[in-house]
Amino acid sequence: MSPVLELAGASLAFGERVVWSGVDLAVQAGEFVTVLGPNGSGKTSLLRAVLGQLHLTSGRIAVMGRPPHRGSRSVGYVPQQRIVDPATPVRARDIVRLGVDGDRWGPGHHDRRARVDELLAAVGATEYADVPVGMLSGGEQQRVRIAQALASDPAVLLCDEPLLSLDIRRQQEVTALIDTTRHATGTAVLFVTHEVNPVLPYTDCVLYLGPAGHAVGAPDVVLTSERLSKLYGTAVEVVRTQGRLLIVGDDGHVHHVEEEDE
C-alpha cells in the first residue's frame, strides 16, 4: 500500500540555519505519528510544509503521491485552542460549516446542514451545535475543531498542539477522539505536541526532532535515554514511572511533565 504522506530526504533551512535535514518518513492510512521535540525544532514548520505553505530546501514531500499544495482537501488541520470572544457571532455548527465550504467564493446556495450535523455527531458535539464557540469549554472547542478538519474527508489530519491549555482529562478525551476518528475514517494522524503522555498509548510511530538530529521509529525505540541523548547532544534521561514517561535533561530541566490530575 502506498503511503498517504511521504517525506524523502526532506530538509528545511531558513538562510544559514538548518531546521531539519534528511527526514525520511512514510505514513500509512490510519497511522498515528507523533511529532515531538523542543521549541524551535521545526515541528510547526513540518506541518506548514505538508500544508504547502513552506517549500523544502531539498528532498521530497508527497501527500497522496503528489506534492502538497495550498488548500488541498486531502489535508485536515486542527490548531491549538485559542480564546474566542463570547460575543463572536459564530456557533459550533458554523465553524464546521466553514470546514465544508468556507474556502468557496461567491454566494452559497447549497444546503449543507445534513453534512454538518453528521460531522458534529461524529465528534459528539451535537448537544452544543448551536452554542457560540466563545461560550464553549476548551475541550468542546477542540471537538468542534476536529469535526471542522474532518469536513473535507482528509487523508492526513494535522494536529498542531491541540492539547495546549487543556486540563489532563480534556487532553485524554481529545486524543481518544482523534484515535477513534482515525480508526473510523482511516485518516492518518500527524500529531505535533510537547506533551507525550496523553498520546503515547495511541502512537504507532514517533518523529523526534532534536537540536542535533532527528529519529523515526516506534515509541519504545526512539524514546530511550541513549537515543535522545544523541538527538540533544547532551545527556538526557528517559524515566518511566507509573505508566508515564518523563524526559529529564542534565541541567535538571524536566521536559514533558504535566501537572497531576485531580
Partner: protein, 300 residues
Amino acid sequence: MLALATDVPWWQRIVDFSSYGELLPLVRNSLIAGVLLALVGGLVGVFVMQRDLAFAVHGVSELSFAGASAALLLSIDVTLGAIIGSLVAAMAIGFLGSRARDRNSIIGVLMPFGLGLGVLALALYPGRAANKFGLLTGQIVAVDDARVGAMAAITVVVVGGLLFVWRPLTFASVDPEVAAARGVPTRALSFAFMLLLGLAVAMAVQVVGALLVLSLLITPAAAATRISASPVWVPVLAVIFAEVSAIGGILLALGASVPISPYITTISFVIYLVCRWLGRRRRQHGWVRRPSAVAGAVVG
C-alpha cells in the same frame, strides 16, 4: 433661519412636523441615500465586528473627511474627494497594519493628521458654513441626483464584493489559521475588505458626517450580535437596525433645524441598548437548551 430658530422653543427645533408634507419631497434623495447606506453599513458592520476594526472605521472616516473637505475647497466633486481620502487611508492601514497592534498605532497617527487637513481645507473654503459643518456632523438636503447615482454605484460594488468574498472572508475573520491552512488567501482578503470598508465609509461620511460614521457601520451590527449568533440572522438584523436608524433619523430630522446625525445616532443607540438588554436575559438563560452541559459552557 437663525432668527427663526431663536423665536421657537428648543424642543420645537428638535421635533417639528408642522410643514411635513411640503418638506418630504425635498429629502427624497436623502431617503434613497439613507436606504443604500444602511444596507452597506449593516453588512460591512458584521465584518467590522468580526475583524475588530472599529478604530479603523473611525480612522478611515477622518481621512475621508479630509478628502471631502479638500474637494470642497478645490471645487471638485465632494463624493470623489471622500472616496479618494477613504481609499488612501484604507490602503495605508491595509499595507502597514496587518497586525492589530501596528494597525491601531498607524490609525492613531493617521487620524489627527486627516482631521487637521480637513479643518485646514474648511478654514480656507470661502463658501457657506453649513456645507462645512455638514461633512463632520451630517447633512440632509445636500444630496443631489448625481450624488445618489454615485452612492448607488458604490452600493453595488460593496454589496457585490461582499457577497463574492462572504464565506472565505468569514473563514479568514473568525478562524485565520485554519482558513490559511485550507488555502484561503487571508492577507489578500484583509486588504480587499479594507477597500470595501473605505468605500462604505466614503458613502457614510456624506450622510451622517465623519464624526458619526460608527453609528451606521458598527452599532447596528454590534446590536445584532447581542441577540443572535446565526450567520444568516446577524447580517439581516444588522441591516434592519441600520435601515430603521437611517430612515427614522432622516424623517425625524426633516422638520427640525438641527443636523440629521443626532437622530440617527440616538435611534441606533437605543436599538443597541434594547438588544443588549435582550442579550443579557438570553445569556443568563443560556443560548440554547443544553441538557447536561449548561454549567460547562459558563466555566469555559
